[in-house]
Symmetry: none
Subunit: 242 residues, 2 copies
Amino acid sequence: MGTVSRKQPLYDQLVDILRDKIVNELKPNDMLPSERELTERYGLSRTTVRLALQELENLGLVYRRHGKGTFVASSGTQATNLSQTYSFTEQMRRLGRVPKTTILEFSTIEANKYYALRMNVHIGDHLFKMKRLRSADGVPMMVERTFLPMRNFMALKREDLEHAALYDVIENVFHEKIRVAEEEFFASIARPEDARMLGIGEGAPVLDLVRTTYNDRNEVIEFTLSVARADQFKYKISHYRS
Amino acid sequence: MGTVSRKQPLYDQLVDILRDKIVNELKPNDMLPSERELTERYGLSRTTVRLALQELENLGLVYRRHGKGTFVASSGTQATNLSQTYSFTEQMRRLGRVPKTTILEFSTIEANKYYALRMNVHIGDHLFKMKRLRSADGVPMMVERTFLPMRNFMALKREDLEHAALYDVIENVFHEKIRVAEEEFFASIARPEDARMLGIGEGAPVLDLVRTTYNDRNEVIEFTLSVARADQFKYKISHYRS
DNA sequence: CAGTGGTCTAGACCACGCC
DNA sequence: GCGTGGTCTAGACCACTGC
């Protein structure tokens, strides 16, 4: 492929190249080069090019039209769009609020069947476990239970997290490159323990979130179960018709 | 492929075959036949088999593990990936469930300030208003309150919607081309009226959705407020680190 | 080691949109 | 007609898992 190395799959490298172009050079509804042109320009097979384009489509960055081409998706309106970022600290700063994180618990456990499956590790593998309360402008916003595989974060100490964002520690202290985070969420009602910490009533609506974060070798480096106050979190998504 | 016809792509037909097996014969964490075995059994190339498996993975029906195999995903509620969701009817069909829509109400109203703002029309403009109950396999799933601008759907009758999906009517009967749908959602708890219709308790968790649909001239052609059972809907998105 | 999914190639033909 | 994305083949080698 000439301009790229081989530590990542070729289609992933192409995703990065095109994502850069989309973000920095192109406008919504601009057309991308055709698949055959990308094939030629980067010396790839069409299969590989299409893999990359499909990933960009899954990410919502482009839409494809049979017979016409592949186009940059419109970013789908900003405002309270929480789907563009996944760091609580970053989100709150962007909204002009002052974030605060209180570490309620920090320990190590061994993965049971559930965690082994979700984090793609073996049963019995060691994990860091932490519980954190996140607030903004002094108002409790969400409770997070986070699990990290010890193999990647051997030297992690509670103090590391007292004054830095988790993602900063992951990237700057442990040099793990975060590539993608998958997030699932569904409505629920507050369990008593969570309700107390969030300052809401038992049975108040909450949004449950499950986040899995991968590094550039496709290993799970973070698994977090969050409970967020429903009155503080709203998501926004755009989908394109094909 | 022998056992199948050619009206659908081969990988889609394989999706149907495997989805049937998953739903009717297999249990969570059961292993599916290997890709090479499927290749041989159905006379397909591995590329086509992998396309089908990827679709099943996107639908949340299976998960894949490098070096081990492809397995049936657990959980009764399949995660619905927002970035590829279109209509309720299509979504349920893709999951192999039988969708049904009951029209509870059909009338016309004049837009008040709120609807005028959300739908980008003038106060007093005429709107169709309908309330629909959506079910899958006989289980109530969500209640939708939908508003359509009369200017685009003059001849719309209740009967049009009795046996066709709203989006089909919009596109095929009124020739409005849907370009994009924006969706906002947040956790809530069931209001008494909705709880009754959905067959859940008052105060049970629900997901509130607000959807705005645009045609290719960027006019709002649909505005819908939905209330979905939390135990039936789960959403999934991916974030990229840049 | 054998068996699994993951990546990749170099083609082919089909279906769609548009001039 | 021509350029676009959509489907599909028949291979190849790599990377991971588990015995």
